[in-house]
Subunit: 341 residues, 2 copies
């Protein structure tokens, strides 16, 4: 009877060596078989898979990452989780990546470039297989970290004409123009723009608003209410009250996001301001609850799930090398007309 000598530092886990031994092949062949490399004899490969199943073998991701210099995690950076927009985006990313063997690793930047940089510094050393980031607005240091990491990166929610930049988004400016045009077509003349957060995408919507009103000869800078505060229902209510008091002749408001628009609608309810009779109200994104507001909210349905899916798909191609050139995909948004305008 041999003494039960355990190796000095065994973790007790079933290793590739065990599988190889059971299948009667070398560890390299076992490794190749399990990773589905083509260069393995089908019969051998089958024997290896069988042995792995029987032993309950699970590859060690750390060993794999160390040896191959690449993990299967995909770092996904979003500004916030409290905006349902990004939750929809993340869900779509997960649905696309996870079944393909990649695990999204969510990082929240809070619209703060220092935080984004810290997240990159923390997670890039893990050698993620890919990177999904929101928009193009980041510190130069963050940009350098991404480029020098050599990790394939797709930008979400905005589009860019810059060559070699992979992105999936839609035209925030055109969408902003579309909803403004809709208000004009409803016969409104004094159309206000209420915004919070003031991130680049909000400012692009603002530009669409301005462009449209200028073309109509109706632009008035006093009708722009821009707050750097975090977007919220409570803030929307305050902005609405403020605007109605200070600018009694306003006959329409384009809120840059549905949550502040909902707040505006609730404030109108409380103040008994007739919507759309006296003031038309429009939002942006078509978030949960907008269709149930009184009156239901006119808004832009943004394709965030589609952005997530298409962005993850593009990244998959980049990571696997099946997509040679980074692309820029522009998706469609949709104007949803409800009773608030």
């Amino acid at each position: 009877m041999t003494a039960n000598r355990r190796p000095r530092r065994s973790s007790g886990r079933i290793t590739l060596n065990d599988v190889a031994g059971a299948a009667g092949v070398s560890p390299i062949t076992a490794s190749r078989a399990l990773r589905g490399e083509r260069t393995v004899d089908p019969a051998l490969a089958e024997r290896v898979r069988e042995a792995a199943d029987r032993l309950g073998y699970v590859p060690d991701p750390a060993a794999r990452a160390l040896a191959s210099q690449r993990s299967t995690q995909v770092l996904v950076l979003v500004p916030l989780l409290s905006n349902a927009l990004f939750v929809d985006l993340l869900e779509a990313v997960h649905r696309t990546l996870f079944p393909e063997g990649f695990q999204p690793l969510i990082g929240v930047t809070h619209y703060d470039s220092a935080e984004e940089e810290l997240l990159l510094r923390t997670y890039l050393p893990h050698r993620p297989a890919g990177l999904l980031v929101t928009g193009f607005d980041r510190s130069e240091a963050a940009r350098q970290l991404i480029v020098h990491s050599g990790v394939p990166c797709v930008h979400l929610m905005e589009t860019s004409a810059a060559p070699g930049v992979a992105c999936v988004g839609f035209s925030q400016q055109d969408a902003g123009a579309t909803i403004t045009r809709h208000l004009l077509e409803r016969g409104r003349k004094r159309i206000a723009f209420c915004a919070a957060q003031l991130d680049p995408r909000v400012l692009q919507r603002a530009e669409g608003y301005r462009r449209t009103l200028r073309e109509a000869g109706l632009y008035d800078p006093r009708l722009e209410l821009l707050s750097p505060e975090r977007s919220s229902i409570a803030l929307g209510a305050r902005l609405f009250e403020d605007l109605v008091q200070r600018m009694p002749d306003v006959d329409a408001i384009f809120f840059c996001n549905d949550d502040i628009a909902q707040g505006g609608l609730l404030a109108a309810n409380r103040m008994r301001v007739d919507v759309p009779g006296r003031i038309a109200v429009a939002g942006f994104n078509d978030l949960a609850g907008s269709a149930q507001m009184v009156p239901p909210l006119t808004t832009i349905r943004t394709p965030r799930s589609e952005v997530g899916r298409a962005g993850a798909d593009m990244l998959l191609g980049l990571m696997r090398g099946t997509l040679a050139q980074p692309q820029c995909v522009q998706l469609d948004y949709e104007l949803i007309v409800r009773e608030s305008t």
Copy 2:
């Protein structure tokens, strides 16, 4: 001039060896110094840190995880991201763990035990340093995976008397009883309970509702409207309409979550049902927007940020071995009375 021989597989990265060389010590000493072990001569440690800084050394997490059999990631499993409750929880967890050198890895189960199991099977091989899960309701297989992994685990949002189980939460049942009692004190007799999702915590609130009404001799099972659908504003509106039509004598509704309560309030606005004149409406969780509803919503403020912080703190103790025994911490909730009741 020596030929520029690069090692066969160098990743080009600065390694611990480089730092040790620059500091004139062995790699083990460098490793100990950088991890802050006490057994290193302060002067040497300082020299190592200096060298590391100068060279821009960043430890390789994969190598570290492989050698130490432990990563610095903490797996956090929540049911949904679309419920603001869990977003608050995650934010608190991140704020607590990240500065201490641990990175939360978010997994979303969608209230599906098969998905939870798959997430555990996928992420446990990464040897996370700790595990944070929502509630106690999971498959036996999932439970076994957790126990056998040996990874310290804290359960969030519910409390349990079971010994050896680490948890941080509050009494869902008592909170449900508290809001029901409040409605009774307002003189309501026909108090309905509207619920969605029907996860264990919702059912515990239901139990608190039943207990309280039974004690008051006012329990009527026909006043319970339980929907297995996902909780949402739209569903809340439907449940409200349904209830008002089928049970015209209902004079109060306790919604199990603020989002369906908000939907109920919006339906009341649309149907011109007087709240609280004809029907009092109460919610649960105190989510964004509840204070802005018309009328503002009475609800229970649940301590989810506190749960996240305290749960992460407890896990920190468990991971570091400074907390010998798993504990069960019960936190307080707060009744927020607004004008809807």
